[in-house]
């Protein structure tokens, strides 16, 4: 007799989306079953060996602020860490850490296994059960049936996947793992539209055969900032490994150009659409024909192995061409390939079928997250995973879904883009996609989202109280600086002259002085009457070293973004009890106050249109003056608000005006009825 079991939530796939989804659902009290084709491959990193990076680092911190696991897991298992873009504004600072892949997988598995309500099953789900547009459960290949009111698809790149290089086609998922060949048909039977996407990964080489002396060493930061707001910074200051930078050259490009006809990408064997923002090396050579070199980052796959990842060289060229081109690169002349580069093709859901909650519009209880929604990247997957997990649980509990909007989080931008815009290729998070990025910084993810995580039930009371204390401390310190004035005394003018700043003509607040580009919170400590006495003898503040012990180690750009040597509760020697995170928030807030205010005004404008809800029953064919294309698009996407409608491609500003006018009349008529 076939097995028949009952649970609350079934999560299909245990990658980065599946793990967060299952953890969120289980932690919210749902009996959750997590299906994977291989228990040994939980939270697998089949491509790049790092977490974070430009804008993706933001996502990790947001997942963490909501109570997710990715940040904590990378803090436990990183082997190098770096805050990127320090020379730019705080909005684009981004954390990136190299992971020890094996440990990353192992630690995540341990967390899953120790979470109550969460059960891991190694099985391929073959069928989704639904009746009358309502989810009923899933059936595995072996016929075991799990009845449940909510299912979350986190199938990544496994649906009908095949891996290709040259003329070699292997019918597997990533890394030679078993593909999921049954589920696509079941999804189609439910009326779900699938897309065929493509992505790829570079070759891995044996570190013993690499000449590092020909490459530039890329070290980690001297002071590591953890990803998770819960990680004690002291625990992440450790020995780090290096990455290495080298470049392709004309010889490399000539080999690639000469072999394009043997690439399945160009010969037409690959039907799926590839990512423009994570292009293969052959794409780059074709598209940037005028560039005589491209960067390659050589990154360790972990402490347990010699294997190295060649970042920037993903490819689907034949094996012999791969060897040849790699050997043209300085430092890699004698490199031995461990694993070939390959392209992977897979089925994914057309995400326009989803609501902003990640639930299917037409199938109640079915959710979808991660690469299965046409995104790319571990971080994008995790971000969707936690939201789908939360919303599946809330659906069962009869609660309203949690929807983050574009002014609240990168997660909001990500999901809104996925379900609203036409995606022809795997979607990658980028800073440019976030209109309000000065407000959505990685350093304030906790201030933005931890309260939501607490209300949802994923953030414990103690952590929430800590957040409230932090917020209060920031507000108090800002107020104090706004009310602390310095006069025109000679020592003030001398201080300003020393910092290349123009003298003041009358009394001015410290907050005002902080706006000057050449000054910041830490430097102004010298003028701060409340800087207090140095905590111990001999630690007299010297110019430019107002921040104490950390000051000597961090350069100008790093100050604003660095984490703390001084962890929670430890005393700042100059301003009472303030932690580093508090000082950092105060500095950013006051320094960029004008910009922040203007961005907040933009958000106000944005929210006006988001608040204009469109009734789901609206028949766009009845709206006069709407262009045919707009009727088609709006009927397909069924946006929740005027704001969302305005972001659908093919819907023009005039169409939006038509809609606004129509809605007004519609509401008017409704009132009269």
């Amino acid at each position: 007799m076939a097995i028949r079991e009952f649970c609350d939530v079934a999560v299909i796939g245990a990658g980065h989306a599946g793990c967060e989804a299952a953890l969120a659902a289980a932690r919210l009290g749902m009996k959750t079953v997590l299906f994977t084709v291989s228990v040994d491959s939980i939270a697998l990193m089949p491509c790049n060996p790092n977490i974070g990076g430009s804008s993706k680092g933001h996502l990790v911190r947001e997942v963490d602020a909501l109570g997710g696991e990715m940040g904590k897991n990378i803090d436990k298992t990183f082997i190098q860490s770096k805050m990127l873009n320090r020379s730019k504004g705080p909005a684009v600072h981004s954390l990136r850490a190299q992971a020890d892949k094996q440990r990353y997988t192992g630690e995540m598995r341990r967390v899953l296994e120790n979470t109550p309500n969460l059960w891991i099953k190694q099985a391929e789900v073959a069928r989704i059960l639904a009746e009358n547009g309502e989810i009923k459960g899933v059936v595995t290949c072996s016929g075991a049936e799990y009845r449940c009111p909510a299912v979350i698809l986190c199938t990544g790149t496994y649906l009908k996947s095949r891996c290709l290089f040259g003329d070699v086609i292997q019918p597997t998922g990533p890394n030679g793992l078993q593909a999921a060949n049954h589920l696509s048909d079941s999804l189609r039977e439910l009326g779900i539209e699938l897309l065929r996407f493509k992505t790829g990964t570079p070759a891995r080489i044996d570190g013993r055969t690499v000449d590092f002396s020909k490459m530039e060493e890329q070290k980690g930061d001297p002071v590591v900032v953890p990803f998770s707001f819960t990680t004690d910074p002291a625990t992440v200051q450790k020995e780090q490994v290096s990455c290495w930078l080298t470049y392709t050259n004309e010889k490399t490009h000539a080999i690639i150009r000469g072999s394009l006809d043997r690439s399945p990408l160009f010969s037409g064997v690959i039907q799926g659409t590839g990512p423009r923002y994570c292009p293969s090396i052959e794409d780059k050579v074709v598209r940037f024909a005028d560039k005589d070199r491209h960067q390659l980052f050589i990154e360790p796959e972990g402490n347990y192995t010699h294997e190295l990842y060649i970042g920037g060289m993903s490819s689907s060229l034949p094996e012999d061409v791969q060897v040849e081109m790699i050997h043209t690169v300085p430092g890699l002349e004698k490199a031995e390939i461990v694993r070939n580069a390959y392209a992977i093709e897979y089925d994914c859901v057309n995400p326009r079928q989803l609501k902003l909650s990640l639930e299917f519009k037409d199938i109640s209880g079915l959710f979808s997250a991660g690469q299965a929604n046409g995104s790319s990247g571990y971080e994008e997957a995790a971000a969707q995973g936690i939201i789908a997990g939360i919303n599946a649980a809330r659906k069962i509990q009869g609660k309203e879904p949690v929807i983050l909007d574009r002014s609240q989080a990168y997660i909001g931008v990500l999901i809104d883009d996925l379900v609203t815009k036409e995606n022809h290729e795997p979607y990658r998070m980028m800073t440019s996609r976030a209109e309000y990025r000065l407000l959505l910084r990685q350093d304030n993810a906790d201030l933005r989202l931890t309260e939501i995580g607490y209300q949802v039930g994923l953030i414990p009371e103690e952590r929430y109280q800590r957040l409230l204390r932090k917020r209060e401390a920031i507000e108090k310190e800002i107020k104090r600086l706004q009310e602390t004035y310095v006069g025109t005394q000679p020592e003030v003018q001398e201080f300003l002259a020393r910092h290349g700043s123009t003298p003041i003509k009358s009394g001015v607040s410290l907050a005002e002085l902080m706006k000057r580009p050449e000054l910041d919170y830490w430097e102004l400590a010298e003028l701060d009457p409340e800087r207090g006495k140095p905590s111990s003898e001999g630690q007299e503040a010297s110019p430019g070293e107002g921040e104490g012990s950390l000051g000597g180690q961090l350069s100008e750009g790093e100050k604003g973004s660095s984490g703390c040597q001084l962890s929670e509760g430890e005393e700042d020697p100059f301003r009472g009890q303030l932690s580093w995170e508090v000082c950092q928030q105060v500095n950013i807030h006051l320094k960029y106050e004008g910009y922040i205010l203007r961005q907040q005004q933009q958000v106000e404008q944005f929210k006006k249109l988001e608040r204009r809800r469109i009734p789901p029953e609206l028949d766009y064919r009845q709206v006069g003056n709407l262009r045919k294309e707009a009727v088609q698009k709006l009927s397909d996407y069924r946006p929740a608000s005027i704001g969302q409608a305005s972001r659908i491609s093919g819907v023009s500003p005039a169409d939006i005006s038509v809609l606004l006018v129509y809605l007004e009349q519609w509401e008017h008529r409704k009132k009269e009825d």
């Binding site: 980028m430 800073t431 440019s432 000065l438 004008g594 249109l609 003056n625 005039a654 006018v661």
Partner: protein, 455 residues
């Protein structure tokens, strides 16, 4: 898909011809039920043709009419349109409109025809507004400026400015996303090099806007001068032969009564002419203090000086008011021997001097020429310069200027590039409001509600 609307388009007064306009998907079928042609049907008629027949309300003939057929998208609204020309009596027009409504049309809201033209993409917002400007224009300048705007001159200019801003936004964003391939080195100079001329252009438009507003509303003009200097003579010179077109502007109190005077294609709004005309009956009371108050609100000051009397304290004080203003001094030629010469006046005040004589009718031409020069009115219509006349456009331009100045400030302070896009985006959006390409929540309804019925 659009419902069909109808309204009286020609105004509800007695006239030679009255027009009822019907627009929408059912315009032809409504028209056919309304008008019995001698032969054929409006629904089968070619676009832009006229058809003779009788309008009926039920079985009752209402009037003899000419029906014009315009097929969408080649009509004012972009939809199928029928215009029924009838004899221009209010009762006739009302009966025809009633009949159209009876046949399934809905009474159009004020401005709804033009709104449809905008919503159907026939006009951008600035063009739609120009329609209203054209209808309401009080003088040649306003008419020409509105016509240029209707032809798309404003939209074209704004689109060009927006394009330049968008290019920079796109570049910054691309560089942030792909630092490997797109370098921001030297970008600050490049951006500044683009911002400065852009700001210059916007300032030029704003300057023109100020002038444009003055010219299209009429130049608010105050006549100054000590008692008996000859202010009423000047008034007569200005209004004399053209007494017929002097209109009293309604709604103003007697105290600030204005008269509008056409001077070629520009108009002057003369303030407080009553105070000048009434001097027959009572001692002229416009003291220096009153003159000062009025002068503050004026676009143009005309100061009259009597050449037969030497300059006194009052003259000196009044001439002092002209400092830094658009002003002209008019030396009233008297039969009496001259005590004040043109040269003396030119030395005493910062404004050009014109000799005039109301009796001989001289000085008017020079006055007109000087005023035209002063307000650059000579350029209007003679070159392609875009003139902004709408207050809404002006406000948007001012906001855009403010935002671009903030960008410039950020560049000069050496802030990182990602800060620039906040204010660039604001400037881009503000300009988009002019075209209706940025969605302002109730902007569209607000604008069209100011239109008159039937347009």
């Amino acid at each position: 898909m659009a419902d069909t609307i109808a309204a009286i388009a020609s105004g509800l007064t007695y006239g030679g011809i009255g027009i009822v306009r019907i627009s929408g998907s059912q315009a032809f079928s409504v028209g056919d039920r309304l008008v019995r042609l001698r032969k054929g049907q409006l629904a089968e008629a070619k676009s832009h043709t006229a058809h003779y027949g009788f309008a009926y309300d039920g079985e009752t003939p209402v009037d003899e009419v000419l029906a014009l057929v315009m097929r969408g998208p080649h009509s004012y609204t972009g939809e199928d349109t029928v215009e029924i020309q009838c004899h221009g009596g209010p009762l006739v027009m009302r009966r025809i409109l009633q009949a159209a409504l009876g046949h399934g049309a809905r009474l159009a809201e004020p401005g709804e025809f033009t709104k449809r033209a905008f919503l159907n993409g026939r006009l951008d917002l600035s063009q739609a507004e120009a329609v209203m400007g054209l209808i309401q224009s009080q003088n040649e300048f306003a008419r020409r400026a509105s016509l240029e705007q209707l032809k798309g001159s404003v939209g074209e200019k704004i689109r060009e400015l927006r394009g330049k801003i968008l290019h920079q936004i796109a570049f910054i964003e691309a560089a942030l996303d792909d630092p490997e391939h797109i370098s921001l080195e030297g970008y600050q100079e490049e951006l500044e090099g683009m911002l400065l001329p852009l700001l210059e252009e916007i300032r030029g438009l704003l300057k023109g806007a100020e002038r444009g507003k003055i010219l299209s509303d009429g130049i608010r003009t105050v006549i100054l001068g000590r008692p008996n200097a000859g202010k009423s003579s000047l008034l007569n010179l200005l209004t004399g032969e053209e007494r017929a077109i002097v209109t009293e502007i309604p709604g103003t109190t007697r105290d600030t009564l204005e008269e509008s005077v056409q001077l070629g294609d520009i108009s002057l709004r003369l303030v407080d002419t009553a105070g000048i005309r009434d001097t027959q009956d009572q001692v002229e009371k416009i003291g220096v203090e009153r003159a000062r108050q009025q002068a503050e609100k004026a676009d143009l000051l005309l100061c009259v000086v009597d050449s037969s009397r030497p300059l006194n304290q009052d003259d000196q004080e009044i001439l002092g008011l002209l400092e830094g203003r658009r002003a002209l001094i008019l030396l009233n030629k008297s039969d009496l021997p001259a005590e004040v010469s043109r040269e003396e006046l030119e030395g005493a005040a910062a404004a050009p001097v014109i000799l005039f004589s109301a009796r001989e009718g001289t000085g008017r031409e020079e006055l007109e020429r000087r005023i035209r020069e002063m307000f650059d009115a000579g350029e209007i219509g003679t070159n392609q310069q875009v003139t902004i006349t709408s207050l809404r456009h002006r406000e948007a331009l001012e906001q855009a200027e403010k935002s671009l100045n903030l960008v410039l400030e950020s560049v000069r302070q050496g802030l990182p590039e990602d800060f620039y896009s906040i204010d660039l985006m604001d400037a881009y959006r503000q300009l988009g409001l002019i075209l209706g390409e940025e969605v302002g929540e109730d902007l569209v309804n607000e604008i069209f509600s100011k239109f008159c019925m039937g347009k």
